[in-house]
Amino acid sequence: MLDRIEFLLTEAITAMRRNWLMSFAAISTLAVALFLLGGLGYVLIRMNAAAEDLSGRFEMRVWLRDGVSKQQISEIAADIRAIKGVKEARWVPRDIEWKRQIELTPEVAYFDNPFPDSFKVILADISLGPEVESKIKALPRVDAVEYLRAEQQFMEQLMNFLQWLATFVGGLLIVTSGILIYNAIRMNILARWREVRIMELVGASRSTIRIPFILEGMLQGLLGGFTASLLIFAAQQAVAEQLKAVLMTAALPRFPIELALVVLGGAGVVFGGFCSFLAVREPVRRRMGV
């Protein structure tokens, strides 16, 4: 069994060495594709985490109508806290709000207090902002709701764009690398027509003839995946160093290189195997010369 595996692997490696330029093209394109997909995927994961941290800072202000009693205020507080996506709701009495305004702009002290009672609402999930807003607005005795909708929308749009960019550019490169792997395998079949012919002459099984080519595609995928992992690691390290220099503190968490090697290497193996399988589905048969 080991003898057999050794023979098939040797065949695959020989084929790659024989057609190294095409193999290099396939590996490097797949590496760039996985770098973009994996790298942008990592950036999105980090941004999601950052957005969750930021959601506490996206404060919502709920203004009540004039003349709301304390009993009604505590009812409204309970209603707001019951809404999904709300982390915290704090009552801000109209007098306290007015004092703060006077501290900020003392000249307004000559006027009457225009503020109604209000609530400061902190969101647990930034993406639920619009939903929370409409539910609070629907409550009786709520006059208006203010929050940083534009900022929240910007964050969402940015993440959507990055997701789109990763999917589109990465997808395009994945297709390109798939075609390159397919071509590399087809070219190797042509380059190794003598070996294929001899195998057919002596009655080698179809799997013995085809498996080395599929292994070759899987090897190319594996190398592409590993290269992409190392590229992402290097890019992350470079960004971390830059941020550290600016912020004087460790700005980014440690990059999970082991996980990246397993995930991207595995993805490369599956993808390379699939492309080479498609390539050997076309007849590899040559004239036997008899």
Partner: protein
Amino acid sequence: MSAPLTQDNIVFDKVEVKYSEYVYALRGVSLTIARGEFVFLMGQTGTGKSTLLKLLTREVKPTSGRVLLWGREIGGLPERDVPALRREMGIVPQDFALLPRKRVYENVAYAMRAIGATRREVRRRVPEILERVHIGHRADAFPHQLSGGEQQRVAIGRALINNPPLLLADEPTGNLDPAHSWEIMEILMELNRRGTTVIVATHDQMVVERMSKRVVNMQGGLVVSDVTPSDVSAEAITQHVTAGWDDEEPAHEDHPILEPEPPEEFEGPIPLDEEDLEPEVPPHA
């Protein structure tokens, strides 16, 4: 004369191979070869002798008729069973088909590894095979360092890795001088003496005459004569062989396999190769 129809025979029964509506390779060939026989398939290029070999290796399927190998119909054999079929025979192609970057030993070893032999089996059997075809002393040479005859011996050695009961050789002396041709024929005869059925497609008339074996002469996809050594002398074989190349009357009208040539105005299938479309010059002309 043909051998009787038993399970020990190779039988072509009214086999027709048609590549397109007008292009025929074989036109209803019936032929029986007994186990242990040595048979020459003679004829010019495009007469169908290689197609007969390809039918046995299942590179080609018959359009109609049956091909039986040791009593088993192989025309309708599923593709997945073809490798197993080929392990029952040794195939020697005309161009040797050696791997230029591998030594003689490695060429045979590679073929053995491809059919699943272990390293130990390879170490044990390859020297033995190379000795059998008298090329053991050149085991470390690369193909380009060998003469044509030596290369052909390696190709024959490689064909023996499965210990086949049947050996098919397509023009094994096509690229060789008479001395080397005879060397190859001696090896084939030796294998035949040990019980291997040998079928050789050739147009090397000199070798055929000297060997004094059964000769099946083909022309235009038909068997035009079938002569065993007991029937006729070397001169008669020559007559049989060349008679078929003249587009004249067949040599033996009473021969059971002989079929009449199509008439001149025959508008049926055309020969397979372009060479056959050119005016034919008889070899003795």
